[in-house]
């Protein structure tokens, strides 16, 4: 019995300091898992609807734009922005113009576009574009054509990736149709009337 009492005394004596130390410091963890999902968002900020009017002989002979012709193309430009968590490239394509009134179709390469970088990402630095002036405009095609491409790193939001697309029609510049609208009209490609098409801009992630 005496032995048992001694043993119990020793056990309590040992446990007491241990308990005191355990209450002096404690730790617990909160785990934060940040999930950065991929975002690739193309936004047409303005100029989603364009109206091109051929009203005079000069319009038919030399083409129209936001600054050529009265009224020319209204508004004549479209602002787009890309919000992307990774690198990307932008393509453009459209079907030929089809008549609402009138006959025939207007080949889509009569519509041209050139680009201006208005965000902090600039052509020649983060992005590239082969169509930076009216003189080097891209004549649209039915199939997609790359309009803006990756150069170094173009991930970013609208402040970085904002571009103005300037539209031309019938100006025969760059890779646009080399014949005047008048020549095509007189060749019977299309008649007077109203025509429409929908241009599709496609942003694609570069993995």
């Amino acid at each position: 019995m005496k032995k048992i009492v001694i043993l119990l005394s020793l056990i309590f004596a040992l446990q007491a300091p241990v308990l005191v130390f355990a209450q002096l410091e404690d730790t617990e963890n909160v785990v934060f898992n940040a999930i950065l999902g991929g975002v690739f968002n193309l936004v047409v900020q303005d100029g989603e609807l364009q109206t091109a009017t051929f009203n005079t002989a000069d319009d038919y002979n030399f083409g129209i734009s936001e600054s050529i012709g009265t009224p020319g193309i209204d508004p004549g430009f479209t602002t787009v922005a890309m919000e992307a968590t990774g690198n990307w490239y932008l393509q453009i394509g459209a079907p030929d113009f089809t008549p609402i009134s009138g006959t025939g179709t207007i080949p889509i390469d009569n519509l041209g576009v050139w680009c201006e970088a208005t965000g902090t990402h600039q052509f020649g630095t983060e992005v590239s574009c082969a169509f930076q002036t009216a003189e080097t405009a891209l004549g649209l095609q039915n199939a997609n054509v790359t309009l803006i491409d990756l150069l170094t790193n173009n991930s970013g939001g609208a402040p970085e990736n904002q571009f103005v697309l300037h539209w031309l029609m019938g100006t025969m510049q760059g890779s646009m149709n080399i014949e005047s609208m008048f020549a095509q009209l007189s060749a019977g490609q299309f008649s007077q009337g109203t025509y429409t098409t929908t241009v599709v801009l496609t942003m694609t992630e570069i993995p």
Partner: protein, 211 residues
């Protein structure tokens, strides 16, 4: 075990498929084009012609762009979104102050050359056959409504297609049956007292008509 292997295989296949997908987003811009009607005629060069009778040959045989008329030619363009024809007319030459009489307008003649991509006999009709100096047509008098260029197989087009060079003559007495120039020399008309020496003027009007 077999089920486990199949499950793993499907899992890998699914993951591969997910990883292979590339993010794509698109947006649109709508274009509406209005092709409106336009019919324009322009004299782009040679809007003023100076005709000078100086020597007896001028009075006896007339003057042309080769001598006596400066510049002797006028360039006319047509821009038309539909088919068209053209007329021309002018009053008799009237004297400037200090001179007397009038010069009959049929002393003035012209022939036409198509310098655009459209040709007479194809897209265009040269109504009176005045395609060379010897076929010059007398200038129609005001109100005669003479068509000088008509529609052939389709003359819709701009100035690239529809550009014309008008070549002017005066006192050359060409005998185009569709409109002969005055058969009398300027000398004989002067001698007959129809007009005196001096300065005279007239204005020819070209009219483009939509068909």
């Amino acid at each position: 075990m077999k089920k486990f292997v199949i499950l793993l295989s499907l899992l890998f296949a699914f993951q591969f498929a997910v990883k292979a997908q590339v993010a794509i987003d698109d947006d649109i811009v709508i274009f509406n084009v209005h092709l409106l009607e336009t019919f324009e005629i322009n004299v782009t060069a040679g809007g003023v012609q100076e005709i000078t009778f100086l020597g007896p040959d001028d009075y006896n045989y007339g003057v042309t762009e080769a001598g006596g008329i400066v510049s002797g030619t006028s360039t006319v363009t047509v821009n038309a979104t539909g088919t068209w024809d053209m007329t021309i007319e002018a009053d008799d030459f009237s004297p400037l102050p200090g001179f007397s009489g009038s010069i009959d307008i049929d002393n003035l003649g012209f022939w036409i050359e198509s310098t655009g991509s459209y040709n007479f006999g194809d897209e265009l009709v040269l109504t009176n056959g005045n395609d060379a100096p010897e076929n010059s047509l007398a200038m129609p008098i005001t109100g005669s409504d003479v068509v000088i260029i008509g529609n052939g197989t389709g003359n819709t087009g701009g100035e690239a297609e529809n550009t014309f060079e008008f070549h002017w003559e005066m006192g050359t007495m060409r005998a185009n049956p569709a409109g002969p120039m005055n058969p009398a020399t300027m000398f004989s008309q002067l001698a007959a007292g129809l007009f005196s020496l001096g300065d005279f003027t007239t204005t020819a009007t070209l009219t483009l008509r939509k068909l």
